[in-house]
Amino acid sequence: MTVQLGIFYILAAFVVWAAAIVVLGKNIVRAAVALIFTFCGMAALYVLLDAEFLAAVQVLIYVGGITILLLFAIMLTSGISSVTARVVNEQTPFSAIAAIGLLLGLIYASTRGNAAMAAPPRLPETAPFLGRLLLTTYALPFEAVSILLLAAMVGAIVLARKE
Amino acid sequence: MTPEQFLEQLRTQFGAALTEAEAKGSVLLLTTTADQGYAVCKALHDLGFEYLNCLSGVDWTTHLEVVYDLSSLHHAAKVHLRVKVDRADPLVRSVSDLWKAANWHERECYDMFGVRFDGHPDHRRILLSEDWVGFPLRKDYTDERLVPYTDYGLEEKQAKTEAGKGAPKPTSAAPKPPAPPKPPAPAG
């Protein structure tokens, strides 16, 4: 167990460090690249939790899709590289309160040994298991989400269409 | 329409303005003055000469000349129009609205001869750099970098052959071209 815990700590540190760069980084493109590494780190964490399917989907969707579109947006707005992102702004007190609240919540949950936080049950092959689950018990939310996505896509196309 | 018919029509239309007008073979040779140039071109354009082959400048030392070579895809006639232009203030109305081909040709004519084309959409030098001074193809164009080409050999050879023939004729009176000026100090 110690080895797995060790790897977990290394990965967690890596993810936190990359996330810090994303938030605190001056150059916006470097922040985007750091974001990619955060997602990869998270995917590794999923693998540690034996959720391989989730890890692969994480890499495919987040890294392969969303960050690419993010970089797309950055590149297409010309003159973006010269603008340095302002790191500190006025709402520091409010964000500080929110952050500390979240921290307390997490500490409370992990110290009380809540059942959900304990080691997850050894799942059999995740992919087919998830597939069956999605199309049986959770069929309704699955369909609802797909309709929502469809609507979003149609909206995007209508917006992007040149007048 | 044969060239002669074109000629009659142009004579009736312009009369004195066409200082010269004759049909040699299938080519109509016309000359006119600067202010009538555009009118003649317009008339020719409407007559059916919708293809401007070539627009070139010629420097006759007494005056400049803008030469239009027109042809038509339907009639077998060609036109060779020469427009005389004053050398001091060369100004001609641009024909780029009649034939778009004239656009670049006129810019080159301005670039090489200094003939200005009134109403030209993009009146800039085309081949030389924008800050070039002078108009190279004019006969009186002098440039210290330009070493006049001495005809090495040809005249001397002829002179020798005539002398060699024994008849002691005086060598040909062709004046020796002036010695090339000493190379200029390198421009700063």
């Binding site: - | 919708e50 010629v58 100004l91 081909a101 109403g119 081949l127 193809l137």
Partner: protein, 383 residues
């Protein structure tokens, strides 16, 4: 008629002509760019990938050809005409020599006339092959380039056997030709023709019938008939816009009227049409050469010409069909051995002036294809 528009300096005109907001992106293609076929600078104003305006800048290869011409006598100018359109030197010599002969009303022996036609048509094939190769290269097809150059190499060998030169031949003389065909040349020429005829279907399989190739060049660089005539286009550019005009047949010079060949005309008015015209022209040229080789008369190849050529005062504008279009020479003579005024009407100069109109609304990738279809050679544009 006072001067209305002051003479603006170049740069100032550009900013006010393209004065709109600067959010469009300027891309400079050239003068050092792999697909501008020489030193031509195209300033493209892009809106995303679409070209909104294109300003060609020429003059990088300007060698004051015409000023030199006025300081040389008529025979010395022949090697200079090679350097005009260095990919079709034979056609350039042919045009110049014809115009001087027209000025002097000089007769040319029939064998020389046939030799001229054979060499000019061979040069047309070589020039179109080079065009096809580089055109394929622009569109990303590397193999057609090698095939075309393999054939062009054989034509260059023929030229080298005849004139000793591979590019600038200076082989035509006023009133005839410099030398006669070496023995065995005619058989070598026939060998090339038999080798070359089945090659065109080979190119078709690789390029013409290839859907990807057609998709790339159909419908771009549109230039309809009347505007083409208005812009003074000539050669394949004109015949691809539906205008049936070829100087070799409409205004026959030399002995072209003795050969029967048909002139390919397509009315697709776009890059695809120009491609088809040039491809078909190669086949027609092969036909002309075969007929010329059959009818090659014997006899001397150089008419009696005075030692120093002094044409009577007068002027002549003679136009011939070079591979790129109507090549005109305007010669004004004043009785001295040097021409008083020597003007070259270059086909690519006029064809290039229509580039802006063809480029508007196309994509950057099309810009390369359109420029390729215009088939420009900067030597004759800049003179």
């Amino acid at each position: 008629m006072s001067m209305t528009t002051p003479i603006p300096i170049g740069t100032q005109v550009i900013t006010e002509r393209l004065g709109e907001t600067m959010e469009e992106m300027y891309v400079n293609m050239g003068p050092q760019h792999p697909s501008t076929h020489g030193v031509l600078r195209l300033m493209l104003k892009l809106d995303g990938e679409v070209i909104t305006d294109c300003i060609p800048y020429i003059g990088y290869l300007h060698r004051c050809h015409e000023k030199i011409g006025e300081n040389r006598n008529y025979v010395q100018i022949i090697p200079y005409t090679d350097r005009l359109d260095y990919l079709a030197s034979m056609a350039m010599n042919f045009g110049y020599v014809l115009s001087v002969e027209r000025l002097m009303n000089q007769e040319v022996p029939p064998r020389a006339e046939y030799m001229r036609v054979i060499l000019a048509e061979l040069q047309r094939i070589a020039s179109h092959l080079l065009w096809l190769g580089t055109f394929g290269l622009d569109l990303g097809n590397f193999t057609i380039f090698i095939y075309c150059f393999r054939e062009r190499e054989m034509v260059l060998d023929l030229f080298e056997a005849v004139s000793g030169q591979r590019l600038n031949y200076a082989f035509y003389r006023i009133g005839g030709m410099a030398m006669d065909f070496p023995d065995g040349w005619i058989e070598q020429c026939r060998e090339f023709l038999t080798w070359f005829k089945p090659r065109i279907p080979e190119y078709d399989a690789l390029v013409t019938d290839n859907i990807l190739f057609q998709k790339r060049i159909r419908g771009i660089g549109v230039m309809d008939g009347p505007t083409a005539v208005n812009y003074g286009l000539s050669g394949p550019m004109l015949r691809a816009s539906g205008i049936n005009w070829d100087l070799r047949r409409n205004d026959p010079y030399s002995v072209y009227d003795r050969f029967e060949f048909n002139v390919p005309v397509f009315d697709t008015c776009d890059v695809w049409g120009r491609f088809l015209v040039r491809r078909q022209e190669m086949i027609e040229s092969v036909k002309i050469i075969e007929q010329a080789l059959e009818g090659l008369p014997s006899g001397d190849i150089q008419a009696k010409v005075p030692k120093t050529i002094k044409p009577a005062a007068g002027q002549a504008y003679v136009r011939t069909e070079s591979p790129r279009g109507e090549l005109g020479f305007y010669l004004v003579s004043d009785g001295t051995p040097k021409p008083y005024r020597y003007k070259v009407r270059s086909p690519a100069f006029c064809n290039l002036s229509a580039l802006t109109e063809m480029m508007r609304g196309c994509l950057v990738a099309d810009a390369v294809a359109i420029l390729g279809s215009v088939d420009i050679v900067l030597g004759e544009i800049d003179r």
